[in-house]
Symmetry: none
Subunit: 173 residues, 4 copies
């Protein structure tokens, strides 16, 4: 019995060793590529999830909006315009999402700094036009890493922000 256990123990040790080597290899592989940044990007499934959650929130608030999702590179990933929502909100929603990702910030917070006398007055003129009132928020994954952003336009700024937050949070559930 003891011998058998010992043999088992040795096998286990051998297995452990192999597993350990695999772990080291994985670590080395990881290190080997560490010169490039390893980033996290929103997937199209997550974009769908966020859009549908935002739309649901909009319907709950009885408001029609435009919802835009950009990826980690601030490129358009998903979009929907609810029926009867403002045509002018297409671009506003997209610019809100881009602005939120451009500066990793709630667009409303940015707007507090861009007013006359503000420390970054008129930054809106950069990047082909920023939108710096509420309705754009970064989207984070479970690790807290920003993987994109969502922009909402069509309701009041409070509604737009609440809908954007509902969309951003949905991918964590």
């Amino acid at each position: 019995m003891t011998i058998k256990l010992n043999q088992l123990s040795k096998l286990t040790q051998k297995n452990t060793f192999i597993k350990f080597k695999i772990l080291i290899l994985l670590c080395l592989l990881y290190t080997g590529f560490s010169s490039a940044q390893i980033t996290n990007d929103i997937s199209h499934e997550e974009a769908f999830t966020a859009i549908l959650a935002a739309k649901k929130e909009a319907e709950k608030s009885k408001v029609v909006v435009n919802i835009a999702i950009v990826d980690a590179g601030a490129n358009l990933k998903g979009f929907i315009r609810m029926d009867e929502s403002f045509l002018g909100s297409i671009d506003v929603a997209i610019k809100k999402a881009k602005t939120a990702r451009f500066f990793n910030i709630d667009t409303g917070k940015l707007g507090e700094l861009t007013q006359p006398g503000g420390i970054i007055y008129n930054i809106e003129l950069s990047n082909d036009g920023l939108i710096t009132f509420p309705g754009g928020v970064p989207i984070k994954n479970k690790k807290g890493k920003i993987i994109g952003a969502i922009g909402v336009s069509g309701g009041t700024i409070e509604q737009d922000r609440a809908i954007a937050i509902a969309g951003a949070k949905s991918i964590l559930e």
Copy 2:
């Protein structure tokens, strides 16, 4: 008897007169609204349907694409970028959808006319840039009325066109 018939005739005349007045009223009503066009526009639910059908077709063809939907006013209605698809195809897909609705035509057909020597050579320079190769098609409702358009970019032009057609047809089912 004759009297009775006359009375009947009068009643009939009266009825006829009432019916005539209703007809005139309807005509007036119609005229009253005739200054505005009665349009048919794609709904966001139909846009979702078309996007999902196009995505399914793309997955079947083992290709990743960008899918854009514009409404009857050629304004962006819906969009999705499949993971790993070309970043440059965001704009191409949107421009294909817009081009298809701008001229109510399969973008590939338009491209036959825009070549050097073609009757509308370089029309691509209008409208902030048209895309005139295959991948954009109008979306029609069951009455055959154009209600928007779909643009697809990321695969071969044949794949893009087939995916766009699959998306456009899906709302008729």
Copy 3:
């Protein structure tokens, strides 16, 4: 002794078990985040490396050029304009780098398809202007994954392409 070995064995087993649990946890963590894409992006050190290698190649060819690097999201990461090189090549170099990343392709290869009669004729009008002649190439990491792109302008198209390739390859060394 046997007992001691057994105890050791048990400790080892316990350790193994703990390591195994860590491994599983790591796997779960990985799976938990698998809904987001894990991408690879060029670092600024790699951008410097590529720019310097490209510049060295240009000097070897006795030509002065503009060198632009974009990241995985097609956003500008690095740039240098060599003394006496064309002012008009600033934008051409940046657009070459963007085009190469937009479609994950050697810009010269793309240009073969955009000529009159080509399958994607006039695609240059999308994305605020593409450049589809040689001088832009994707930058890949050691895994073969595209992490950005380099665009070179100022020499002949053959020189530009060779310089771009020298830059792209330098980060693999």
Copy 4:
């Protein structure tokens, strides 16, 4: 003695004559080129130096930034985006550098004049968008002549300005 003085005098006269001829030659040379301005422009080596000095200062301040250099013609000369720095700061850094050179001024100083009621209110709308808060400064050579400008974006406006100044000063060392 007198003879010696005479001889010396003759020698001096001869020397004076030679010097006079040189002076005339120099004047002719100068006149020959006087139709073109003699400008001083930042070299790519100086651009590298400024970028690296700015990056070092940013690292010291534990902040990640975008650094842009423009030449005497306000054209992009060099650029680097530090890993994890804001995507929206690419354009802001470039616009800060351009603005600093456009008006040969610290962008923060310009911003004091562009506020509502200011003497050049909304000048930001010119030149495809100026940035008029701190972070852009002219680059001077040892003669005090402006040869370009540097723009920094990503930190606080105080950090951005300090980093820009560190970059600008580095080429004087």
